[in-house]
Amino acid sequence: MATGDEIWEALADFTEQCNNNKRLRKMQRDWTKILHFKAIDMDDSFTMKVVEGEIVKNDKGTVGTPDIIVETDSETMCDMFWGDINPTQKYLRGEIKVKGTQEDVMRIDVITAVIWPEV
């Protein structure tokens, strides 16, 4: 089990990776969404606000009306933000739950595919 602080750190790393990736920013420039991440083995949640492909803000807790809700255990969540796992595979095996459209699920996978093509 990871701690809330660890997730928050992983999320910050992830944010930096995304925002510094020029190709990804361009690719995602028509994507404006609010994402909620819930760690189900603890009571922590996080909110990520994406505007035109840029992660403009992360919050602790749930803020705003989400387009996408991602639920998994804290360990998997950290692994996801660190690029240690392929989130779509986990999703299809029921280990990560995502509420939202399939298109948005695929967009999340695009992020991983661009930042960590080998995963």
């Binding site: 190709r23 361009k26 690719m27 995602q28 420039r29 028509d30 994507w31 695929m106 967009r107 695009v110």
Partner: protein
């Protein structure tokens, strides 16, 4: 098939075919073709020739506007298709398959520059529709500039790009955001480009528009214009591709590489529908974030891809582009004579390889020449957007004696029309 039938039986088949066609497909089409002497019911087909069911032989200079570059019923392509049929069916458009992957690689190899990824379709219009969608999606801009008299297909994004209103008028509102400018006029294009221009789409030789050749300077100017304004350049090589103009692709002449290239027609080897939109790697990023937003059930079927591979092999192995260039020159010698002999009929000849257009002195000569040529054993029609131009696009496997036969038929037909008169402009 036709060989074992008696003359009476063949006539009966022909009558029945015309009747069925009129009754269930389109009576007026049948009538127009009959009047033009083109009510040919194709029986045997081979190389550059086709036989009417009644046994009369024609050199096919229509070839569905360049769909039969490898010749009609090319035995090597037929074998490839039969072999494909031993193993494959259409396959599933969603899945990855070996033929799809193999052909994509081959297309990346033979297309110029860094054209890399392939989206498959079945028809040419479909390929252009995707090209334009891709340009809009990738640039997030709207406008598309095409040229007057251009032809790009009848599906919606392509239809709006056609440079002729008649094809659109009865159908009401079109896809918005299109401008049409004169061909071969760089200044007009420069003027039309704005901040919201996503793409310029152009044929390097206008086919339906009347066989007009883009100059190298124009094409190079377009490339620069596009680079300067972040506009994507789309070459529609649906008629000009696969050796037709004397090079594998017509853009090989100017060396200008487009961002998107569309191909269809001859890729199917006169046997099987397949088309493709080939685009640069960068544009793949849009396809990645919008996976599965453009789908085509029949596009890039396993069988179609096997046929496409065989077609490319045949063209490369037999150096069809070079052959087309050579046969084109032989045609040109004949045309030069016709130009001096019939100045009242023939104004100009425009040609690149075996993509040839005869510019007549007025509109009515095109249809009359079709009729006369049919009598003299040649199938040819005027171009869709320009009835004063007769297009000659024989298959690229045409031989010297067949070239001479066509030139001779042109001579006879023109001489007959001169005799008939009625050629003055009105």
């Amino acid at each position: 098939m036709a060989a074992q039938l008696t003359k009476g039986q063949r006539d009966e088949i022909k009558k029945q075919a015309l009747d069925d066609f009129s009754r269930y497909v389109n009576p007026q089409k049948a009538r127009v073709l009959k009047n033009a002497g083109l009510d040919i019911i194709e029986g045997k087909r081979e190389g550059a020739a086709v036989w009417d069911i009644t046994g009369k032989k024609y050199i096919d200079c229509i070839t569905s506007a360049g769909s039969f570059n490898v010749g009609r019923r090319n035995p090597e392509i037929i074998d490839a298709l039969k072999k494909a049929l031993d193993e494959y069916d259409l396959g599933v458009f969603l899945l990855c398959s070996k033929p799809k992957a193999d052909l994509a690689k081959r297309l990346a190899e033979i297309t110029p520059g860094d054209l890399q990824y392939v989206m498959y379709g079945s028809g040419g219009g479909e390929a252009n529709d995707f090209a334009i969608k891709l340009a809009r999606g990738y640039t997030m801009k709207n406008d598309v500039i095409s040229t007057l008299k251009a032809y790009h297909g009848h599906t919606g994004f392509s239809l709006a790009a056609i440079g002729r209103d008649e094809y659109r008028k009865p159908f009401g509102s079109m896809v918005p955001g299109y401008k049409h400018v004169p061909y071969n006029n760089l200044a007009a294009m420069e003027e039309a480009v704005t901040e919201d221009t996503a793409a310029i789409i152009i044929e390097l030789v206008q086919g339906e528009g009347g066989i007009h050749l883009a100059t190298d300077d124009y094409v190079k100017g377009l490339r620069k214009l596009c680079d300067d304004h972040e506009v994507l350049l789309i070459f529609d090589e649906i008629q000009t591709g696969f050796g037709r103009t004397g090079k594998m692709f017509c853009c090989d002449y100017s060396g200008v590489v487009p961002d998107i290239l569309t191909i269809a027609k001859s890729l199917g080897g006169a046997l099987y529908p397949i088309s493709a939109t080939v685009y640069r790697e960068e544009l793949g990023d849009f396809v990645m974030t919008h996976a599965f937003t453009h789908l085509s059930t029949f596009g890039g079927s396993d069988i179609g891809c096997m046929v496409g591979l065989a077609v490319i092999d045949f063209i490369v192995k037999n150096k069809l582009p070079e052959h087309a260039a050579k046969m084109g020159e032989r045609f040109q010698k004949g045309f030069d004579e016709l130009l001096t002999r019939y100045p009242e009929l023939l104004m100009e000849v425009r040609r690149k390889g075996l993509m040839m257009g005869l510019q007549y002195t007025n509109d009515s000569i095109g249809p009359r020449m079709s009729y006369q040529l049919a009598q003299n054993g040649v199938m040819a029609i005027y171009t869709g957007n320009e009835p004063s131009v007769m297009r000659l696009m024989p298959s690229l496997v045409i031989q010297e004696d067949e070239v001479d036969f066509v030139v001779d038929a042109l001579d006879k037909s023109m001489s007959e029309i001169m005799k008939q008169g009625g050629i003055e402009k009105y």
